[in-house]
Amino acid sequence: MLKDETLDARGLMCPMPIVKLSKKIKELPVGKVLELIADDVGSKEDVPAWAKRTGNKLEEMNEEGGAFYFYIRKVQ
């Protein structure tokens, strides 16, 4: 998936990936895609929940080599 920016949150546990994701998405212009890489297993549920609550779009999610790759499009 095409991405505009990457946030590597590997090594961070809940709630830090979400806190950092929220900060990062604020810096991005609407319509851009952020790639978030996390290895906290909680992020598998946390990131979709965050996207639903903030109104941003989780376009894609993959698991590879023990890490999760999320592609989030900034909607608002």
């Binding site: 090594g11 961070l12 546990m13 809940c14 709630p15 830090m16 979400i18 806190v19 994701l21 929220s22 900060k23 929940a49 965050w50 609550r53 903030t54 109104g55 608002q76």
Partner: protein
Amino acid sequence: MVETKKIAIVVSEGTFDKGMMSMMIANTAASMGMEVHIFHTFFGLNLLKKSKSPKLAGMFRLFTGSFVKKMKKIGVDNYSEQMKMALDLGVNIYACNTTLALLGVKKEDMYDGVKILGAAGFLDIAVDADSTMFIG
């Protein structure tokens, strides 16, 4: 636009675990775009003193340092950093006015940005909240 959800939290204990719990929930909620209000009452007030870092309860207090180190290793900030982050994210942090008098705590002893509130003021917020939590 997503509807803004409101969370009201009461913290009545001043130990490290209670403080961390409230901060982690608050900072996550604020990061999810929620409006957060935390009311610190009784010993929860000790969590608002900027010169004091909270300890685990009872005999576990001796292990607080190793706990903090372990948390740092997994990327979780310590209590005072989390508190500053919460204030930065716009979390509303309140000190119970009666407890202030009871424990002899002054406004200047507390983190900058902490607001003083009475029970009625907090209840007014809590009845309109989408979720209320009690940590104590």
